[in-house]
Each structure stands twice: as structure tokens, then as C-alpha cells.
């Protein structure tokens, strides 16, 4: 707990800060969740981090992280460090779990102040495997299995689509038919019969495009060993992850897929008694392939294209297509060619530490430098195809052969970092002191093909980002009982004007070990400041930029364009990073060496959030406004983690769980005061949905004979309404339902309670482990999955929820007026029904089994004969079961309701160690 481990760390945080709130997870544990992207292995394994699954698309399946909830309404990205040097998401996401020894999450000011302007959103501190002095070990692991979609929400088949479509077109003629519902179907009874008995066109596009199982495999070899002077760890890792597209990967077509090849060499040298050197080389190649038709558009088309629109190929054997539905999903996959991208990245660190005990015991110096580089290039083969319908060509596209394009670089970065540290670890009797001061410099250059961000004009190649930080921590312990810590960071960033670009971030913390063996209780508290220089609003906001545009045309016979120059937003020379005051109080307790409890309560007050100041200027200023450091936000919550492990007659078992509850409030965001105070969004949590309050459906007796609403009914301003449309509340009693009646309608889309629990058993070589993870408190807005919610609108498809639509055609025996769960169907846009309101907000609580693993390790006797030190066979299932109301009621996956779905997998593998 108190002894300095002797590891050399390049940044300013020593291996253990006794007064800080830190979560840990080992690389071995992360390996147990087989996932292509390492961000998808964190669910439920690292307390304090909230992970949200994004998509399962190979190569583009990065999950998003925040720690302890939403701290700011600007950029919540965590800072990631590998072996003491900062990396970005591109480097991090395809690291292999095998390369990682341990991941630590720093959450409170005691540790984060030393990171200065890059610490406010938390720090993920990763250390990779190192060698050891002793017998060399070789470990080989192989895993192979299949992945499937967690859930795909499929649209209605032709019969249901057609009969509901008949309702929709009839509904649309209500006004023309003198405000009456008269059944005027588009599909005749014969056509409906044909769909019912299978003779009509009835294509399941998801079935045609996708296959059920996709291959996942990975393999790695680790060599580790050394002696007192040299220690090494060499790791080679391979992973292949294929997509769900039902198309062969060959010269003309391609499934989505990623293959990566990782190579790591971590070397430690000790020589001349005082020097310790480290060389870390971690590099990899990532090869991605994907069909040329854009992924999100393909998933959109599969959902949108109706089952009855055309067969995959028409009777002449050509790909089908019409002007309205021109991108045949199967042809999009098979007839347009494919693109491949190649990424090469390397992080090379060199570190030298001198133990200066001869000057004074406990003093050491260290210097380190890191070169991190990444480049991506792409090559593609493109083709086109002609669209036919009933034997006739429908669009101007023609079928062409595959044409290859040359490989070209699309993006790259170059990152050089340096660290100079001085440290002092010494124990004088009952006093122990650990101090570490570190100077960090970062030089990042990037080529960017596109706009850097929305408002900071910085496009093109050679974009620099320079940063320096002088940070340190000093920990003092008295009698192994009382602890005091002080941390600081003094950072400078190139985002701000010279003279305004440095910030000082101090923190103070204290701890007290109240009880010792057999019980153990440590109480700790910390308070301090850190900063966030990474803003989504842009960089260089202190600089006045001018934009050019075409102002107007002149001329008579030919038009000449005249360019205008105008200042863009007003520069703010004093712009600076947002700051975070973090307060944390917690305790660590161990009872009877079996039960561990860690609890923390925290508060994060953010100030100076860069905000577009629209509340201080009238329109008379006549230009885009200023970004200022005026935003404020508060985030508070608590975490609780408990673990119990014991053995009983040879059966080892472990039960554990952790939960995180958080709530944030936006205190100030330069919001212009709305007409009604209930419409204010300041004081609510960030991303709280706002809209109207729905009060059911209009019925026929709400209307007069001429189609107008009866007097006394508030008039909605969003368009003409008819029976079956949604009725909203007129909150301010103005007689109109309009923008002034908007208020909070639900909770944000991220869960406020994030919890997990796990259990494992091992007995005589067999082991079983299960991990559950869930989220509660989030709401999902069905309109965010527009293709699955807006039935028939603008040539869209219809999904099972449309079956509950309001309809009244007594002549056809259709009457859902009292049981309707969906407004009346329409084929045209309808801004009255499909707008944010309480009607479309649904609870999104979920619980998933994230991982089940069953394994068997062969007994010692057998291993000795084969000269193995370990042989374990295992099978695991990832995401096999999901419990969610959203899934049950609407068939939406709680985390990936649209687009390429998240994946579940069934994997088997084995792990062998030799020595």
C-alpha cells in the first residue's frame, strides 16, 4: 500500500496515491470478453466508467466512454495514457487486451490535478505487460467463434404493409372527402390475397443482405522472461472480425471486415547500478475492407424499402430498381465494388531513469521520449449497375465493370512527447514522503482532409496541437495511519492567446486508516481543480477570422459572381479552458479478508465552459456572436463496489457488484429566457428531451362538420389535424398549441444508474463466471429511430408498431379508436404527430448478461507430462441475453436501435503456457 513499487513512470502520478479514488482492472479480465474493439470489453468491469455501445460494424465499432456521468455539455472525452504517454482513440481502440497489464481509472482531483488542462474528464492509465526476472514463459491463446446481431428489428411483410398502406392513403384524403373517412384503397383485395398466400412480391431485405453468423477469431503469443539486468515481454497478436453481410470476400466483392496484426516488444534494462532503461515498441497494422455502398445508408435502405417493391432481380435477370427506390440493397452489396483501408501505427517509447541514492536516498531522475505515428491510406474498386423494373430500365445508370483506383493516403498524424521527471521516495521513521515532479511536452501534427470543426477555421494539412504541463504530487504519510496529499498541474495550451494560455490546477487530499487487520478501513477525501482544453466549439477562438462567400451576382447576358468578405464569429482574446472543481469523499473497507467495499461520493462543479453567448447581445450587433467561458454545470453522484470471495472445501467462489448513480444539472448556458418558465432548459440535465405533452388522440366529436376544431379546443399551429392525430396540451392557455407549450418530457438518453454484478466459481479445474450489466433511468425517443417509427411517411416502410394505428373504417370492419397506440397513418409528412412529445418517449432500462464463461484447466499431473505449465479450454458467450422493455415492446435494442447492430458472440478457445 505504501511502498513505492519501483516502477518508472513517465508522468507525474506515482503508482499509487493513497488518497485518490482509483478503479483498476487487469488486462486478463478484459481479455475474457471477446471483442474486436477493446472499448467493448469494458462493460461492467471498471467501476466509474459508463460505456455505451455504438455499433458492431467491423472497424467502426468504438464504444463511447464517460466517467462518473456527464461532467460538461461540451466535450466529455477521457484522456488516455499508455505507458505514461498520451494516445488518442485511434491508437487505443485496437490495442489487444493481451498487451495490457493493467488499466487504472483516475477519477478525482487528488490524481487528476497533476494532469492539468487534460485531466478534467478523467484519465485512463494503461500499462502494458513487462518482462520478469526468472524462468521465461511462453503463452499461446487462440479463440474462434461466431458473432451474431444482438437484435434486428424487421419491417412488416407485404400483406401487412399493403393493408396498412390502404388505411394511410384513405386517411390522407380525409380533407378532400369533405372531412370524412372514406375507404379508398390502393391495393386491391386480389393483390392482398396474393401477398397472403405467397404469390406476390414479398422480400425480406434483411434476410437477403445479411447472414446469421460472422467469423471472429484471434490468436496471440506472449514471450516473457529475463534476468536482473534485462527483462523482456514480446507479444504478437492477430485478430479477424468479419461483418454480417452475405457476400463473399474476393476480388470483386467484399464483406465488411477488419484484420489487425499487433506486435509489441517491451524491454527493461538495468545497468551500472543506477540506470534503468525501458524501450516500449507497440505497433500494428489494421486492414479494413467494406463494400462501397455506405454502411449507414445500406442499413437505412434495408429498413426503408418495402417488401413488395420489387424482387431482388427482375425477370430478365438484371438488378431491380426504381426511381424512388433506386439502391437495391442486395445490388448495393454485390455490384458496386469495395474499398480497403490500411492503417499503420506505432508507439515507440524510450525511457531512462537514474537512481540517485548516492546523492540522497530516494531521489531519482527520469527522462523519456515517445514517438507515435499513424497513417491511413485507402484503395477502392468501383462499379455501377443498371436498374430494371419489369424488364425496362428505370434510371440512367448503366452496368459497368470494376475499375480500380490507386491507393492514396487519407489521413495521418505524428505525435512526439517528452517527459522529464524528478522524484523522491523516502521513509524517515514514522514519516514517509513520496514526491514526483514532472515536465511534459506534447507536439502533435495532423493532416486532416476536411473541416477541423464547426467554428474554428483550421483546415487542411499540418494542423498543430502543442501542449506543456508541469505537474506533480507530494504524499506524506505519518505512522502508516494519517495521509496528506498535495497535487498540482501548471499547463499551457496553444488553443489560447499568448499570455492567456497557462493555468494552475491545485488539489489537496487527506486520508486516514481507521481500522487495521482483521478489519481494514481507510477514509479519504479530496478537493481540487483540473481543466479541459479540448472543446467541441473549436480551437483558436481568440483569433478573428474572416469568411468569404458569394454575395450576389451582376451582369446582363452572363452572370458574374461577387465575393464578399465578412468577419465570422467575434474573437474572444480571453478565451480559456473550462475548469472543474472536483470534491470526493470515500472509504475503502475490507472485512475479514473476504469482503471488500469501496464507496465514493463526488461532486464536480464545472465552470468556464465555452459557450456561444447568445443571451447578452441584441440582433443590432449584426454578426455571429462570441464564444465565452461562461457555462456552468454540476454533476454529482456516488459509487459503490462490493466484492466477496471465499473458498469452501475446494470450491472457490466470488460474488461482486458495483453501481454508479449520477445526476447532473446545467447551471448556466446562456439560454435566452423563453416566454414561459416551464420551457427553460437551464436547470435541467444535459440533453433532457423537450417537447409537448400529449393527451391522446383527436376523436370525431372533437371536430365540426367542416373539419375545424370545435370551439374550446386549443388550435395546434403545426398543420391541419383530423381524427386520429395526436392531441397536445396547451400549457400556457393561449388557445394555441405552439412552441410556447414546450417543456421537459422525459429523461436524457444516457442512464443515470449504471450497475453490474458478477459471480464466479472454480472447483477442481472447472471454472464458471457470469457478468451482468445494466442501466436504468434513461429514456428513448422513438422519433430518433425515424425509419422504424414514421410509417409510410415519404416512401418509408412500416414496422410492427404501425399495427396499433388509429383507424376508423366501419365498412371494412376497422375500428381501433379506443385501443390505438399509434396516430393515424399517413403517407405525407406530418409535423403535428411526428414531433417531440411525451407520446414518443419510452423508458429504456435494460439488463444484459454481458459475459458467461465456462472453462476447464487440465490437472497438474497431465501438464507436467506435456511440459506445460497451464492448459485451459474455455467457451464463452457475450451478450447472449438482453432484458429490456424497449426490446419487448418495440423490438429496439436498448443501445443500438438503428444501423449496424451491436453483436453477441459464441466463442471457444484454449490457452496454453509453456515453461
Amino acid at each position: 500500500m505504501l511502498a513505492f513499487s519501483g516502477k518508472v513512470l513517465a508522468q507525474s502520478v506515482p503508482d499509487s496515491i493513497p488518497t485518490a479514488s482509483v478503479s483498476k482492472v487487469s488486462g486478463e479480465e478484459l481479455y475474457r470478453t471477446p471483442a474486436a474493439n477493446i472499448t467493448n470489453t469494458f462493460y461492467g468491469r471498471l467501476p466509474g466508467i459508463i460505456t455505451e455501445q455504438a455499433s458492431g460494424e467491423p472497424g467502426y465499432d468504438n464504444a463511447s466512454f464517460v466517467i462518473r456521468g456527464m461532467g460538461t455539455y461540451d466535450n466529455n472525452d477521457i484522456a488516455i495514457f499508455v505507458d505514461g504517454f498520451q494516445v488518442n482513440n485511434t491508437y487505443f481502440q485496437y490495442l489487444s487486451a493481451i498487451e495490457i497489464a493493467e488499466v487504472k481509472l483516475y477519477k478525482d482531483a487528488a490524481a487528476l490535478a497533476a494532469f492539468g488542462m487534460r485531466g478534467a474528464n478523467g484519465v485512463l492509465w494503461i500499462t502494458t505487460k513487462r518482462g520478469h526476472a526468472g524462468k521465461p514463459t511462453v503463452q499461446v491463446q487462440v479463440r474462434n467463434g461466431v458473432q451474431q446481431a444482438e437484435n434486428i428489428n424487421k419491417p412488416l411483410r407485404s400483406y401487412d404493409y399493403a393493408r396498412l398502406y390502404n388505411q394511410a392513403v384513405s386517411n390522407d384524403l380525409y380533407a378532400v372527402n369533405n372531412h370524412q373517412y372514406i375507404y379508398t384503397p390502393k391495393y386491391t383485395t386480389t393483390q392482398l390475397e396474393a401477398y397472403k398466400n405467397g404469390t406476390g412480391t414479398d422480400i425480406d431485405w434483411f434476410d437477403e443482405v445479411l447472414k446469421k453468423n460472422a467469423v471472429f477469431r484471434d490468436a496471440n503469443i506472449t514471450f516473457s522472461g529475463g534476468d536482473t539486468t534485462t527483462r523482456y515481454a514480446l507479444i504478437v497478436d492477430y485478430m479477424k472480425n468479419q461483418g454480417l453481410y452475405n457476400v463473399a470476400t474476393n476480388a470483386t466483392t467484399s464483406n465488411a471486415q477488419i484484420q489487425r496484426f499487433n506486435l509489441r516488444a517491451n524491454l527493461d534494462f538495468s545497468f551500472f547500478k543506477i540506470f534503468e532503461a525501458k524501450v516500449d515498441l507497440g505497433g500494428r497494422i489494421e486492414d479494413r475492407r467494406y463494400p462501397n455502398f455506405n454502411g449507414p445508408s445500406l442499413w437505412n435502405n434495408m429498413a426503408v424499402y418495402p417488401s413488395n417493391v420489387y424482387p431482388v432481380k427482375d425477370e430478365t435477370g438484371n438488378w431491380s430498381g426504381t426511381t424512388v427506390y433506386s439502391n437495391n440493397p442486395v445490388a448495393s452489396l454485390k455490384a458496386l465494388g469495395w474499398t480497403s483501408t490500411h492503417d499503420r501505427t506505432l508507439q515507440a517509447n524510450f525511457n531512462l531513469k537514474e537512481k540517485l541514492d548516492f546523492i540522497t536516498p530516494g531521489l531519482y531522475l527520469s527522462e523519456a521520449v515517445s514517438f507515435n505515428t499513424w497513417t491511413r491510406s485507402a484503395a477502392s474498386k468501383t462499379a455501377t449497375y443498371a436498374r430494371y423494373y419489369n424488364g425496362v430500365q428505370t434510371t440512367t445508370d448503366v452496368t459497368s465493370d470494376l475499375v480500380a483506383s490507386a491507393s492514396s493516403p487519407t489521413n495521418q498524424y505524428d505525435w512526439k512527447q517528452a517527459n522529464l521527471s524528478a522524484g523522491y521516495d523516502r521513509t524517515f521513521g514514522s514519516h514517509a514522503v513520496h514526491a514526483l515532479v514532472n515536465y511534459f511536452a506534447s507536439n502533435y501534427i495532423e493532416d486532416w482532409n476536411g473541416n477541423f470543426n464547426g467554428s474554428g477555421y483550421n483546415t487542411g494539412n499540418n494542423i498543430f496541437h502543442h501542449y506543456t504541463n508541469l505537474g506533480g504530487t507530494i504524499d506524506y504519510t505519518y505512522r502508516n495511519k494519517y495521509m496528506l496529499g498535495f497535487g498540482f498541474g501548471y499547463s499551457g495550451s496553444d488553443n489560447y492567446a499568448i499570455g492567456h494560455n497557462h493555468g494552475f490546477y491545485p488539489a489537496i487530499s487527506a486520508g486516514w486508516i481507521a481500522l487495521t487487520a482483521p478489519l481494514y478501513l481507510k477514509v479519504r477525501a479530496s478537493a481540487g481543480k483540473s481543466g479541459n482544453e479540448n472543446s467541441a466549439q473549436g480551437r483558436y477562438l481568440y483569433q478573428q477570422y474572416y469568411g468569404t462567400s458569394t454575395a450576389f451576382y451582376t451582369g446582363v447576358t452572363s452572370l458574374n459572381s461577387n465575393t464578399a468578405i465578412a468577419p465570422t464569429y467575434i474573437a474572444n482574446p480571453d478565451i480559456f479552458a473550462e475548469h472543474s472543481m472536483k470534491y470526493n469523499v470515500g472509504f475503502d473497507m475490507t472485512l475479514f479478508k473476504k469482503l471488500d467495499i469501496i464507496a465514493d461520493a463526488y461532486m464536480d462543479k464545472r465552470g468556464g465552459i465555452i459557450t456561444y453567448d447568445q443571451a447578452s447581445y441584441a440582433a443590432t450587433i449584426g454578426t455571429a456572436l462570441m464564444f465565452k467561458n461562461i457555462g456552468k454545470m454540476t454533476n454529482k453522484g456516488f459509487e459503490l463496489t462490493m466484492n466477496y470471495h471465499d473458498t469452501w472445501k475446494g470450491l472457490g467462489y466470488h460474488v461482486g457488484g458495483s453501481m454508479l448513480y449520477h445526476k447532473n444539472t446545467v447551471d448556466y448556458k446562456a439560454e435566452i429566457t423563453p416566454v414561459n418558465s416551464f420551457s427553460k432548459t437551464t436547470g435541467l440535465s444535459v440533453s433532457t428531451p423537450t417537447g409537448l405533452i400529449a393527451e391522446g388522440f383527436y376523436q370525431t366529436d372533437d371536430f365540426n362538420a367542416d373539419g375545424t376544431l370545435k370551439s374550446g379546443q386549443p388550435v395546434p399551429v403545426f398543420g391541419a389535424v383530423q381524427p386520429g392525430d395526436l392531441k397536445y396540451k396547451d400549457l400556457d392557455n393561449s388557445g394555441f398549441v405552439d412552441q410556447n407549450d414546450v417543456t421537459k418530457i422525459g429523461h436524457p438518453a444516457y442512464p443515470s444508474l449504471y450497475y453490474s454484478f458478477n459471480a464466479s466459481l472454480d472447483y477442481k479445474g472447472f471454472d464458471v463466471a457470469i457478468l451482468f450489466q445494466g442501466g436504468a433511468g434513461a429514456d428513448f425517443n422513438l422519433l430518433n429511430a425515424a425509419t422504424q417509427t414514421l410509417a409510410f411517411v415519404s416512401n418509408n416502410n412500416a414496422f410492427p408498431m404501425a399495427k396499433g394505428a388509429w383507424a376508423y373504417y366501419p365498412s371494412e370492419g376497422i375500428d381501433t379508436r379506443s385501443t390505438a397506440t399509434y396516430p393515424r397513418l399517413t403517407t405525407q409528412s406530418n409535423t403535428n404527430n411526428y414531433r417531440n412529445s411525451t407520446f414518443w418517449i419510452k423508458k429504456n432500462n435494460y439488463l444484459r448478461i454481458r459475459n458467461i464463461e465456462v472453462g476447464y484447466s487440465l490437472p497438474e499431473a497431465f501438464l507436467k507430462r506435456a511440459h506445460l505449465s497451464r492448459l485451459r479450454l474455455f467457451m464463452s458467450a457475450t451478450n447472449p441475453v438482453t432484458i429490456s422493455k424497449l426490446l419487448r415492446d418495440y423490438n429496439f435494442d436498448p443501445e443500438t436501435p438503428t444501423g449496424y447492430p451491436g453483436l453477441k458472440s459464441y466463442i471457444g478457445g484454449l490457452s496454453v503456457s509453456f515453461n
Binding site: V169, L173, A277, F350, L352, E367, K416, A418, N419, L420, Y439, A441, N443, Y457, T459, F464, H466, Y467, T468, S493, D494, Y540, Y546, G547, T548, S549, A551, F552, Y553, G555, V556, T557, N562, T563, A564, I565, A566, I570, N572, S616, Y617, A618, A619, T620, I621, G622, L625, T673, V675, T708, V715, V717, F718, G719, A720, D738, Q739, N740, Q828, T831
Partner: protein, 548 residues
């Protein structure tokens, strides 16, 4: 090995220590330092205010403002125009909210004026002004910037006119405000704003180019001219003299309006086009002598896509003329109930697609079962389709395009302004020495080649006033005058509260019916409300217009 590491580290760290390490600003956009003070910068700054002249093709719902008046109905049920028609628009939801856009235009003009104060010196530095060619080039540049400066004054005045047309009194500022200054100011009274507009024109009218087409800079045609400035003054004075703002009925105001309109006529460079139908199409607008100011657009098929009948491939019906408007077109012969559109003012057939006429290569048949059956989804609700501004037979499926230029000011409208002002000031037949009576002016417009309508028969001032109002409705249909005319005449409370009418046809029998009720609340809607955001930000300094 370790020495090398140490050296590299120290080098990196030393480079980081230099002050310039944190000073990175390599970018590809203009900044204060890269923006040279030279001719092209001044010209670019001078061009900036022009971007804020509104294009009437994109007024509301990306279409004409006519759908918010009794001239037309927007076919789409969810249009912003419905907010006007239902009377449900307010300070928070106003589809015609261009308040901040106009102030951007005003700022652009002020910015240019302040930046170019020393333009002669700016243009003269680092430049050859001595040699023959150099001197001519310098002189031309100075002249051009001088024109731009005068144009900026008129542009600014034009924006204030547009603001006051909608909001009445508005905050008036004539310089650029910086971020650290107080931007919240109260509204200047309407009369002061009008005085400002008129004064600006008087001061700068002679510093403007008179006629770009006949000058050696014909490719600048489209920039402001003396005629534009005088036409602006005439329009401003006409509004100021109208009953909405002229509550005491002061005749002097009408006399000033008449004098200003006369100034435009006296320039002698404008003449009426001889083809009312084609004047609005393609480059005819630009080459005609009737155009005083037009906003140019590059070729597109936007208006046709929005307004062709739904039965034409690619059409969306869009803004459809009302029976209220169509029934106002005069008869030139005996009315025939079976053919209501024959023997009518020719401008009807040139502006409106009626049942039985030929359009988009077919005869429009709106009877039940016809090609344009009104029972079709998204067919016209009024029985008419828009024709003015639209090229016939544009192939939307193949992406055919044509140019459309929005006319902001034209000579025909100035003549009608003259007729109205002269009638109010002196009566229909008194020319006050100007050489043109009100009656003669209105008859010039009616007698246009291809229109040839007979002279007005009004005998006294009241009858003539009705005739002028009628002529404006007909001649200027869909050109974004109707709403503002109804407001300034205080006729909106009658005209805009009447139901909007359409016409149905069945077996050759035409029946009029009410399409929808219209609402105009006279207690508040004569002025727009200031945007709610402005009222909130000003915390009481800017007072909302009465009734809102």
C-alpha cells in the same frame, strides 16, 4: 544509448520551452493580419451587404409570400404560411423573421463604410499612380470604391426601410457595435427612421452610377444606381403617407411622395416592357428597361418544382392563386359562365393557370376524372395554378433549368406609386406641373403592349383611389406587394378576414366554394412582433409592439 536519449529529450523539451511552442496558428482562412488593406479587400467588403437583399422567391416555405395573403393558398397542409392564415403566429413563431438578417446587412454596410474611410490613401499605397496606365487604373479603382460607398449608404437605408415596413419603429444605428458595447437599445420611432431613409437618399443619390448598362462597366449591372435610390425614397415616402402611418391624413406627405416618384420618372432611363408574360422569365428581366433593381440567381428549376401542378412529373402544386384574386381581373367583353376565363384582362392568362388552359403540354382539366382532378392528393385546393415567374415545359425529371431573377423594383410599380400619390395629393387629373397626371400614369401601365386594357373610368378622387388599389392588385400580383399594401391602406382587417375562395368545375359548371377561413387580428397584426428572443434579451428596453 542513454546519452542519445538524453540529448533527444533535452532537445524536445527545449523546443517546448521556447515561447513560440505554444504559438501555433497555421491556418487557411483570412485573419486580421492576412487581410490586406487593398482594392480587392475593399471591394469584397463592399459586396457584403448585397447578400442581405431578400429574394422573394424564397420568402415563406421556400416559396412566394403570396400564400400568406388573399392572393393564394399553399397546397401543403404543414406550411409556415398556415401560421399567418390561421392567425396563430406570434413573437416566438414568425415564419418571416428576418430581423437579425437585416441587422447583419446593416452591420456589413457600416463595417465597409468605417473600413473604407481613407479609401483614397489605402488605394494609393504601394501602387503606381504616376504612369499613364497606372493613373487610369488608380482613378478607376477610386471611382469604383466611391460608388460602393454611396451604395452602402443606400443599402443601409433600404434595410431600415424593410425593417420599418414590418416592425414600425426599430433601433437605428449607423456604426459598427463592438462586443464590449451595449447592443441593447430601444426602438427609434417610425417617423425618425423614415426621415433617416429619405435623408440618406438625398445625400448620396448623386454619388451613384446612373445607368450601368450604358456605362463602361456594364458587367456591374445589378448594383445600386441613382434610380434605385430615388425609387427607394419614393416608396418610403408613399408608405409614410399611407393611412397606417399618416393618421392625420396630412396631404403634404402625399405631395412629397408624388414628387419623389416623379424624380424616378424624370430620370428618363426606364420604360415599360412590351411583354408582361415574358418580362419575368430568364434574362428578359435583366435586359428590359423596366427593371430598376433585380436579385439575380443562377439557373435552377426551383420555382417550377415547387409550383408545377402535382400531375406534372416533379411538380408539387405549391402556391396556388385564389378565386379572390382571379375574380378581380376585369372583363373586356361579356362574361360567359361556361368559359369564365375568356374576355378577361390578358394579365390573368399570363399570371394564372386556369382550368381549360394549356400548360406543361396538356390542357388542364380539373373536373372529376380529368388529368388534374382536384380530388387527387396534393392537387390545387383553389382550382388554379401559378403561372407568373414560371417557364412552361421545363423538364423536371431530366433536371432542366432556367434562370429566374427576382424583381425588387420596376418602373411599372413606380408609375402606380406616382398615380396613387398624385391622386391623394392633387386629384386624378392635376399634374402639378410634372407633365403627367395620375390618370395618365395608370393608363400607361394598363396600355402596355400585349395588355391593352382600356383607360380607367373613375371620375373623382375616391373612385380613382379604388381604381389604383385594384390596378396594384392586378399588375403586381404575387410580387410581394399585396400584404404590405393591405397593411398600409388599413384594408387588411377586411380583406384578410374574408374566407379564401376556390373554384370547382363539374360538367362545365363552375362553382365557388370556401377553401378555408382566414384570420387577421387588427388589434395587433398591423405590425410584426419583435422576435421573442430580442424582447427577452433586452429585459424591458425594447418594448414589444402593442397587442403582442
Amino acid at each position: 544509448m542513454q546519452k542519445l536519449t538524453i540529448y533527444i529529450v533535452i532537445l524536445l523539451v527545449l523546443s517546448a520551452c521556447s515561447k513560440d511552442f505554444l504559438n501555433t496558428k497555421i491556418d487557411s482562412s483570412e485573419t486580421d493580419k492576412t487581410l490586406n488593406s487593398d482594392y480587392s479587400t475593399l471591394i469584397s467588403l463592399g459586396n457584403a451587404p448585397y447578400a442581405y437583399i431578400r429574394n422573394g422567391f424564397l420568402s415563406v416555405d421556400g416559396n412566394l409570400f403570396a400564400a400568406a395573403t388573399d392572393e393564394a393558398e399553399q397546397t401543403s397542409g404543414i406550411s409556415d404560411a398556415q401560421l399567418f392564415n390561421q392567425g396563430s403566429w406570434n413573437a416566438t413563431t414568425n415564419p418571416d423573421n428576418y430581423y437579425s438578417s437585416y441587422y447583419r446587412g446593416i452591420r456589413a454596410a457600416n463595417y465597409f463604410l468605417e473600413h473604407s474611410v481613407n479609401y483614397k490613401d489605402i488605394l494609393g499605397t504601394n501602387r503606381d499612380t504616376i504612369s499613364a496606365a497606372g493613373a487610369i487604373s488608380y482613378k478607376n479603382d477610386v471611382m469604383n470604391v466611391a460608388w460602393y460607398r454611396a451604395e452602402a449608404h443606400i443599402l443601409r437605408a433600404y434595410f431600415y426601410f424593410e425593417l420599418s415596413k414590418r416592425y414600425g419603429g426599430v433601433p437605428l444605428l449607423t456604426r459598427v457595435l463592438n462586443a464590449d458595447e451595449n447592443t441593447i437599445m430601444p426602438a427609434t420611432p417610425y417617423d425618425s427612421v423614415m426621415n433617416f431613409v429619405v435623408d440618406e437618399v438625398t445625400l448620396y443619390q448623386d454619388s451613384l452610377q446612373v445607368n450601368w448598362k450604358t456605362s463602361s462597366f456594364s458587367n456591374y449591372d445589378g448594383r445600386f444606381t441613382k434610380g434605385v435610390a430615388l425609387a427607394l425614397k419614393a416608396r418610403a415616402l408613399l408608405y409614410w403617407a399611407s393611412p397606417l402611418h399618416n393618421t392625420s391624413g396630412d396631404v403634404l406627405r402625399w405631395q412629397q411622395a408624388a414628387a419623389a416618384a416623379h424624380d424616378v420618372i424624370a430620370l428618363g432611363i426606364y420604360s415599360l416592357s412590351n411583354d408582361y408574360r415574358n418580362y419575368f422569365l430568364q434574362s428578359n428581366t435583366l435586359s428590359s428597361g423596366e427593371t430598376i433593381l433585380a436579385v439575380r440567381q443562377t439557373a435552377n428549376h426551383y420555382m417550377e418544382t415547387m409550383n408545377y401542378p402535382i400531375s406534372t412529373s416533379g411538380g408539387q402544386s405549391g402556391v396556388t392563386p385564389s378565386e379572390n384574386l382571379v375574380s378581380d381581373y376585369e372583363y373586356t367583353g361579356t362574361p360567359d359562365p361556361a368559359n369564365p376565363y375568356t374576355n378577361r384582362d390578358p394579365r390573368l392568362g399570363m399570371s394564372v393557370v386556369t382550368n381549360g388552359s394549356t400548360w406543361n403540354s396538356r390542357v388542364i382539366n380539373e373536373a372529376p376524372g380529368g388529368t388534374d382532378d382536384m380530388a387527387n392528393t396534393n392537387a390545387s385546393k383553389t382550382g388554379y395554378y401559378l403561372k407568373k415567374f414560371l417557364n412552361d415545359g421545363l423538364n423536371l425529371v431530366q433536371g432542366g433549368t432556367a434562370t429566374h431573377h427576382w424583381v425588387v423594383m420596376r418602373y411599372g410599380e413606380v408609375l402606380l406609386e406616382y398615380a396613387e400619390a398624385m391622386n391623394e395629393a392633387y386629384g386624378p387629373d392635376n399634374d402639378n406641373g410634372y407633365g403627367l397626371t395620375a390618370r395618365a400614369a395608370i393608363n400607361m401601365v394598363r396600355a402596355r403592349t400585349g395588355v391593352n386594357m382600356p383607360a380607367v373610368t373613375a371620375t373623382n378622387q375616391d373612385e380613382f383611389r379604388t381604381a389604383v388599389k385594384h390596378e396594384r392588385r392586378i399588375e403586381l400580383a404575387f410580387e410581394d406587394y399585396r400584404y404590405w399594401d393591405l397593411l398600409r391602406w388599413k384594408d387588411a382587417e377586411t380583406a384578410l378576414n374574408k374566407p379564401l375562395l376556390g373554384v370547382k368545375v363539374n360538367n362545365g359548371v363552375y362553382t365557388t366554394f370556401s377553401v378555408e377561413e382566414r384570420v387577421f387580428n387588427a388589434s395587433k397584426m398591423y405590425y410584426y412582433p419583435f422576435p421573442q428572443t430580442e424582447i427577452s434579451i433586452s429585459k424591458g428596453v425594447l418594448v414589444q409592439n402593442p397587442g403582442w
